[in-house]
């Protein structure tokens, strides 16, 4: 009788085991994808038009000159989220649209407007001296930071964001030259990490909402 009892115990154990395994597999099958998605999905619920940098990318520090002729280190600007754009002042169309969008975003931030830095790094260091940048920023917002530096320096900074620019040999114009440039804006958080990128023409409401969320994190 003893061996028979052992057999039946074994049978019961096997059945329980099988049930547990089936249940477990079922659990993994039904919840696994959801769990996987949750683990791999960007943790930040950003606006639809933004491109999320996930994980956030630490930006290499740099020093450029602002519109008052002072050296500004990117890391000096930490403590506030920052909107960054690469443009130039002899640009009648795309650049002023983006900088004007920054003006709108700042307005929409209301009470929180002072908690964000807005920066344009010029891709035309040859013409955009601090004095020229200062003159330009006056037509937008004097609290905006205009930064200039050597073409080499700015090229390498831009490259870290996947941004690029080059002189465009102009024919059919009296301008000495024009610039071809990528036109994304970038959002850096208060720790100086690149979090989001925006294509040209992104709704200012989207940028504002993302900034509000970023501001709410700290």
């Amino acid at each position: 009788m003893k061996p028979a009892r052992k057999d039946s115990t074994n049978l019961i154990l096997s059945v329980i085991c099988a049930i547990l395994v089936t249940f477990g597999v079922g659990l993994i099958l039904s919840f696994g994808p959801v769990l996987y998605q949750q683990l791999t999905q960007p943790s930040f619920n950003a606006s639809p038009s933004s491109i999320v940098k996930d994980p956030p990318k630490a930006v290499r520090d740099f020093v450029l000159t602002n519109q008052n002729g002072q050296a500004v280190r990117l890391s000096d600007l930490r403590g506030k989220p920052l909107m960054l754009f690469f443009g130039y002042t002899h640009c009648p169309d795309v650049c002023p649209v983006t900088v004007a969008d920054f003006v709108q975003v700042k307005k929409k931030l209301g009470d929180q407007a002072g908690k964000v830095n807005f920066v344009m790094v010029t891709v035309d260091g040859d013409r955009d001296t601090p004095a020229v940048l200062k003159n330009y920023m006056k037509t937008f917002d004097t609290s905006f930071i205009g930064l200039t530096g050597s073409t080499e320096e700015v090229k390498s900074i831009a490259a870290d964001f996947g941004a690029s620019f080059q002189k465009q040999q102009a024919t059919g114009t009296e301008a000495s030259y024009l610039m071809a440039h990528t036109s994304f804006s970038y959002l850096l958080d208060a720790q100086g990490r690149w979090r989001l990128a925006y294509p040209f023409g992104t709704a200012t409401d989207d940028m504002t909402q993302d900034l509000q969320k970023i501001l709410g994190e700290s």
């Binding site: 002042t89 002899h90 640009c91 009648p92 169309d93 795309v94 002023p96 649209v97 900088v99 004007a100 003006v103 709108q104 040859d126 013409r127 001296t129 004095a131 020229v132 003159n135 330009y136 006056k138 037509t139 937008f140 690029s164 620019f165 080059q166 465009q168 102009a170 024919t171 059919g172 114009t173 009296e174 301008a175 000495s176 024009l178 610039m179 071809a180 440039h181 990528t182 036109s183 040209f200 023409g201």
Partner: protein, 172 residues
């Protein structure tokens, strides 16, 4: 007496405000009246603000006569007649006014000058707007402040010439 004084003060303030800041009117209030010449009508004209600079400050590093501050202007040109062409523009507030088109290629934005002008189709229209066709005003000679108005002279292939009042609006 007090009321009279207040009224006088008010009037004086209004007058002085008018005298010292004729451009202080809210930019939204400035609307360019549609300008019409022959079959051509221009509406929705506006220009971006820009501040003139002393040329020695500009040429310090650049050294090209056209390297001064720039502005952009936009408008809708409607044609109710046969096909025409906008050949060129001029203005007293800038050294040059050129027709450009913003184009995108491989993620790079660039400007394409259109020195031969732009076709205005028969019974059609051409819209100058941000990110598209625009008028580049080069070497701004005087401050273009929001609320002020500049005038642009448009020359068409048909021989038609027209002056358009273009209000300067806040950057948008």
């Amino acid at each position: 007496m007090k009321t009279l004084f207040a009224a006088a003060l008010c009037a004086a303030l209004t007058l002085s405000a008018c005298a010292t800041a004729p451009t202080a009117a809210p930019s939204d209030a400035v609307v360019s009246s549609p300008a019409t010449a022959g079959n051509i009508t221009v509406t929705n004209a506006w220009a971006r603000p820009a501040l003139a600079m002393k040329m020695d400050a500009v040429t310090e590093t650049a050294g090209h006569s056209m390297d001064g501050p720039v502005s952009g202007a936009y408008m809708i040109i409607e044609n109710k007649g046969a096909a025409d062409k906008l050949l060129n523009l001029s203005t007293s507030v800038a050294e040059a006014a050129e027709i450009h088109q913003t184009t995108e290629s491989n993620g790079m934005m660039m400007m394409e000058p259109m020195p031969d002008g732009i076709d205005i189709p028969a019974n059609g229209k051409v819209e100058f707007k941000p990110g598209s066709y625009h008028i580049m005003l080069m070497n701004i000679k005087e401050d273009l402040k929001p609320g002020s108005t500049i005038s642009l002279t448009l020359k068409f292939q048909s021989g038609q010439e027209m002056v358009v009042a273009v209000p300067v609006r806040e950057n948008q």
